[in-house]
Amino acid sequence: MPDDPRIEAPATVVGASIRLEAVVKRFGKLEVLSAIDLDVPSGSTVAIIGPSGSGKSTLVRCVNHLEPIQNGLITVGDTLISARGLEVAGRILGHRDVARFRTQVGMVFQQFNLFPHLTVMGNIIEAPVGVLRQPRKEAIERGMDLLDKVNLAEKARVYPAQLSGGQQQRVAIVRALMMQPRIMLFDEPTSALDPELIGEVLKVIAELALRGHTNVIVTHELAFAREVADKIVFMDGGKVVEEGIPAEVLDHPQMERTRTFLGRIGEAPARQTSQPKEGAP
């Protein structure tokens, strides 16, 4: 199955596989990723967990080339990302083709990053109409359909600042899905949310976002990771410490560092630590 990023995604989206081989990422002298190897088979969901500063976010940002890498190789479908940039079949891609490649890789950010000067509908049709050149009317119809699925159809005309964090993140997920990507990257999608809003976003991710594509999710929500992931990867200090099916990694971790991390975060779930608000409604 050719994975040419320059070919329009078919109506039924087929996930592209991701493979990282000895990937090194440095910020100046600081090595954030040290020779990472990782396999994400086509159509599967991988959850990356680990303490802050372990390089999880940087890893997903390298997959859509928001961060260039210094060494190693990332294969996304048939696109190769190396220190030289992106190439397909031996041809180095210019910035236009890099942009084209990114249309196949959806990304959801911790801080939502909705466009504040556009309405909800404006946000989600901006790239389908402007970049993919889809007819505006068609994009709006598809947009309404997706907004309806995340229970935000009546918010199509409002601006992001008028939405709660949970609503904003649901719009951001719809915005990424509108591109019909073959890969979805989630960079701590619920970390900036109030505890009571996390559930609604996780529900949308599980029900809507994880269908058909290949997914990489960076998260602190272990219960969620256990539920949706085919594989869990535990990272620490820029390395993959342990990986395996959720039951293995979460219930029977082999490495000491994994056990320590799960002991800290697992028994006292991250949600509860920020919860005690006196007399909160």
Binding site: A99, G106, M107, P116, A127, A161
Partner: protein, 230 residues
Amino acid sequence: MSLTRLSQLVWDYRDLLLTGIWVTIQLTVVAMLIALVVGLLACFGSLSRSRLIRAPAILFVEFCRNTPILVQLVWVHFAWPEIFGVKFTAWTSAAIALALQSSGYLAEEFRAGIESIEKGQIEASQSLGMTYTRLMYRIVVPQAFIRMIPGILNQFVTCFKSTSIVSIIAVPDLMYQAGLIVSATFLPMQIYTLIAIMYFLMVLAVSLGVRQLTRLLPNFGYFHARRPTD
């Protein structure tokens, strides 16, 4: 001198005064319109990744900002004919000099506005497959423009006040007319006081208008959105 006498004086010279005000307003508007375009070009030039474009753009902006308006005015009017072989009327020279000065400041204003847009906006645009040009004009510049509005209006007021200097090259603005009236009446104290009050009132009117406008803006679309609804 009685107040009636002074009002009589204003009435007698109303044509000169009105012409002066009209020239002053014309110069300000024309100079600012040119400066908005040139400033935007200079701003994009100074943000360019190509050094061949960036270096001259930065040089231009710094030159505009770091030479006195009087020097620019005299330079354009008396030196450009020899340097570039083009001769302007005093009015045109004045408009060019004012535009030069303002475009330097506006370019900096624009650059600051563009650089104030969060990196996340650019990353989100990139992750949606937008090229640099597209994300600039669809996402960054529209947001930056809103933040620039106060700066642009400030520059408008500054430019308005700077016009008083063009009387030096005999452009018949309000200040120039004041000089004419003084030499005809020998009443410098009264006339210049009157002119000062007129400038003050006009600038005050513009400033108050600007303030009112910025107070009204939050009632529209995106501006409205920045207010929490509940």
